[in-house]
Symmetry: D2
Subunit: 374 residues, 4 copies
């Protein structure tokens, strides 16, 4: 190692945090997949000082240098330093982005990744904001589940999730945009895939990161109300409904505490029961109001279809009712191409080719939208 100077984040003159965060916090927790610390730095060598913990599900991160994928790896628990580059020509300024690959983990209360600072023989330079700001709200699709791994792999493990091959990253890169992600595999708008009514994204949307647990995360401020005024979203992409559709195919979920059963039901002819569908639609409407409240200027795009078109009509109807009720027309329903046997990845989830196709539809729509926006 050369003569490296150690910087806590507080001491780091310039750095940028991606994803929901509290400004100026040190160390900075990276809560979601896509959450990242980015620097522009000269020097021959750069290390990042991190703290990793988890009980069940191990942490994965990726690193890009000058916008290109360089590494992806599993992280062991502990507080230690990782070398991000070494042996480079000292003068040029390198752009380095250290990114969490793993979604927030509601099922592992210890799961957490903190960035404490850097070590380098170079100097830090400003990291400008991108032209646009996007937020992606979703489920396992947005968590990139299936973007790594073989088609025959069926485990539900961190290794198969990512930001590096996620449609959200592809979209943000193509549009020169910063991206915020908030997503959780198996969750929906009204219920999770198994009819569990607690697994609904809206109930957590207003917290900094409601999709984790435990004292450690609490102490990091995860459950505090998120300060939406800290960023201004240009386009808000919701990709939810897939698990709400699954719920109709599953048996009832029984609350272990109350014994109460929850179930979305189908009619004998295979169609969805009207009142259950209505509960779903009301959840959509209610969530749209919440999204609008916190993102008054955002163009809301409700995406759907990467794992089937089942609830297209219901989502549309809910959006229509929302518009009728509120007069808000600044939103669009956008179908994304369904995943096929050729584009599927591991765990029966969309693979990278499916994410690429979906991103293409979204990119083209947003390019057009931004070009025509007054």
């Amino acid at each position: 190692m050369n003569d490296l100077k150690k910087y806590t984040l507080k001491e780091t003159p310039h750095y940028k945090v991606h994803g929901r965060t509290q400004p100026g916090v040190c160390p900075v927790p990276l809560f979601f997949n896509g959450s990242a610390v980015e620097v522009n730095v000269s020097g021959s060598e750069l290390w990042i000082d991190i703290e990793v913990s988890y009980h069940v599900h191990e942490m994965w991160i990726g690193c890009e240098i000058n916008g290109e994928f360089m590494s992806r790896q599993m992280l062991m628990p502990g507080t230690y330093s990782l070398c991000l580059f070494r042996g480079m020509s000292p003068e040029p300024v390198k752009n380095v982005r250290f990114t969490r690959e793993l979604q927030a983990m509601t099922e592992d209360e210890d799961c957490c990744l903190l960035v404490h600072g850097f070590q380098t023989d170079g100097t830090f330079h400003p990291v400008p904001a991108k032209k646009y700001t996007l937020e992606f709200v979703g489920d396992s699709i947005t968590s990139g589940e299936g973007t790594y791994g073989a088609k025959e792999d069926y485990d539900w493990i961190p290794m198969y999730m990512s930001y590096s091959r996620d449609y959200a990253k592809m979209t943000a890169d193509a549009l020169n945009a910063d991206a915020y992600l908030i997503s959780q595999g198996g969750w929906g708008v009204l219920t999770g895939w198994d009819n569990n009514p607690n697994s609904n994204i809206p109930s957590r949307y207003e917290q900094l990161c409601g999709l984790c647990q435990g004292k450690k995360n609490e102490s990091l401020g995860a459950f505090t109300p998120y300060d939406f005024s800290s960023r201004k979203i240009d386009a808000l992409i919701v990709n939810l409904g897939t698990n709400d559709a699954s719920a109709f195919e599953q048996p009832a979920w029984h609350d272990p505490d109350t014994g109460k059963a929850y179930e979305q039901r189908k009619n004998p002819d295979g169609t969805y029961q009207e009142d259950d569908l209505n509960h779903f639609e009301e959840a959509v409407i209610s969530f749209l109001k919440m999204l609008r409240k916190h993102n008054p200027q955002a163009h809301i795009i409700w995406c759907y279809g990467m794992l089937g078109y089942y609830l297209s009509a219901a989502i549309n109807d809910a959006m229509h009712r929302y518009t009728a009720e509120t007069g808000d027309h600044n939103l669009l329903f956008l179908q994304l191409p369904n995943t096929t046997g050729e584009t599927v990845g591991s765990h029966e989830h969309p693979g990278e080719p499916s994410h690429r196709r979906a991103a293409q539809v979204l990119i083209e729509y947003l390019q057009d939208y931004f070009a025509n926006r007054k």
Copy 2:
């Protein structure tokens, strides 16, 4: 020319007519783009005997041999023979399809293409039906406008329309399906692109071919009620709404006879006026009922998006209202990827790459649908 034997269609032992037609009629009129006569024939040489007429817009046809594109050409008026192949090994049976490239022309009352028969030194063999039967109902997109011609070409002429590069053909080929087309550039569900209420497809859907004019076409039976029992559609693809969206951007249309003005209006904030939107939705609902009446078993897919997503919400709402009213769930709204600067063709219409992308979404959906259909 070798010793060729002349066959009227009546005398032709085996042939297949594509597109709406009256069984056994001779000569057979090819009314729509995609309408075709197909034969399996041995021999070294094949000619087709045709009759062509038009006043303004010339006829175009294409010819495929053994499923491969071989020729595309403009046809002059008259009654004459065209050589489709010659100099081939006599023994093998060749599949030959002679296809109209040009949509039915409402604006040219003389426009007509008749097939009288064939001349060959070979023998005819049965032409089996394909596995599935599709119907495509649409506007200029389904008429393939823009699939030929340079991006800087802005004329509205037959040369730029086609079946050979149409998403309908791509879809039918990929699914091993027979395809019926009925489409007209500039027309919509409620009105045409210019608010003309006569330019609505539903008003013509029940005729054999309501999208043409004149005594000649009348004598060919074009305006008689179509016998829907003559074919059983597996999937009915509607691709309409694009011109209904245009109408909102255009000034009122005045009926030259009555002086009455027709106009779809926008609010000052750029949104669509509610009652006008409702008229559109009612037209969609009413058309869905008509389609269902004549195609009780067909899976109806309403496609939309190749030239903008403007009326997505309204189409969806209309479909939802239709389902609520009728209990009919056998239909789906499916967005097709919008056309971009890279995929656009002539006359600002979708080019071949756009048709290919749209077809891919449709193909994958239908493959899935057919695989899961009971």
Copy 3:
């Protein structure tokens, strides 16, 4: 038809002839595939006056408007007019190229296509030369055999040959170059595919068009020495050797007049006999000298491989010997990707995808060469 004015070529103020020709001749014969007449013309309508004859193999042509493929069709014998466009906006100048699809036919002495003139209501405008000038010298590959037709089609007929899907066209278009073609299916450098020593391209290279027969073609000047000073070739692409390799696999060819046998032989171990290989190499060397004599400035690229790499070593050795003998280094051997089961077309020849891959290699090489040329 509108009020069209008739122009013989002599009277046509501006037009451009593609392919080998005699300047100013009227009517102009189009001898090779790729030979064409091109005009820039305003007006609503354009007809071309042509004369077609053949005994066995029918003529095929293609037409491009504003650089886009518009039609491809078989032509019957006779003297008549073809409409190339009609109904267009009169003001804009349209670029129209009428191109022979069929190679020169050594086996059909009557085969001939003449352009007499045009009819239009517009006016003619100059057609500038392209930035570069290329010549392609080849066999069936350069004649585009296999670029049309189904994989199961094995006839040797004009319908399956083309310029419109030929690597020569793709290369010329991408480089903004004019292209001269001279090619003949089955021919080689030393012999044809069947050991026939008369089927060698060098023996015909110096004639205007030595690859046809008969009095008619003679009267059109086909057999007169070609005036190489009439064009200056930037890059000369030779794509020969494929049939010379076939000859080694075929039985001897017996001259019907002298009874003499000609044969390229293999050793028992499957390698080529040294002296026969040497005859081939000497033919290559000799041909290179001829090409250089007539094209002193041309960069010569000997392409090979689209139907197997068999004679790669021999061609290279011959080129090496040529350079050693002459000191001429202005040439390169360039392998083109072999045709596979996925890229093959009809008659076991390279299909369009194979031509596209080959063109890509050539395009990239020439872009690089032209960029670095002093």
Copy 4:
């Protein structure tokens, strides 16, 4: 960590080593990029015990699970364990391949990667040999230099080299083949890129791994004669000549010990000096003899072109002379498509798209060769 059992390689019932190695050695050194240890193992968790050292250039490795890329990371020096997977369903057998990404490093005598063993709660299963065995002999191209990193990155560092995006891997995967690699950036057949005559691959080919230095590597057997009888190569791909061409563009190299100058020279007209070219050709001939001696049955393919076609003629001539001298025809010269501005990677070397195009040519050739091999 679960109850994991620790296995030295000697104790590991089944494992497979990729790349040149001594059978049964424990720990096993991975000398080249592409060198790897592969296991089929059940269990929920797998760790690998490794030893890493280097002075200047850090080690990089990649890990594939069930044939899919999972991680790529920089390794710090030391003896430690890396977790390759955890949390998986215990029953299924997972295929895991731990692969060195970094070429053998002649410039860093301490650079070394050893695999000591594994830790797992599963059991090991046999790893079968692949259908074919390939050897790739090359320079920086085969070392994958440029396959990672941005186009503007010009450092010569391990991070930008790989096996994971190398044409050798792509070729081996597509053909279901095991691959041996031996390559060194900057080296040639006769000299290195800078005229240094020591930087020639043939001088090191016969050692187990002659492309490293130092006592540690010596103790690992790197400099012992390689036992070529330990594997039978089906096809041997040589991709050399690129640095020999560079040498002609560089000033003389002066031996620091003797002061002697070495230089490949060009003539004033830009062509290569004949005697220098002959030295290169003799080096090629001599190397071919060495390759044949050790791989009597191997089909030798000399590839060239990914960074320019400069020495095509000389390589061909040398191959021709080799065949004339030895009677050995079991070899082929194969050009690979040159790298373009679109396919270039970091450090002006072929990027992944260039490797993919090159691999495609090689794959298709070898598929054809293997299909026709007696």
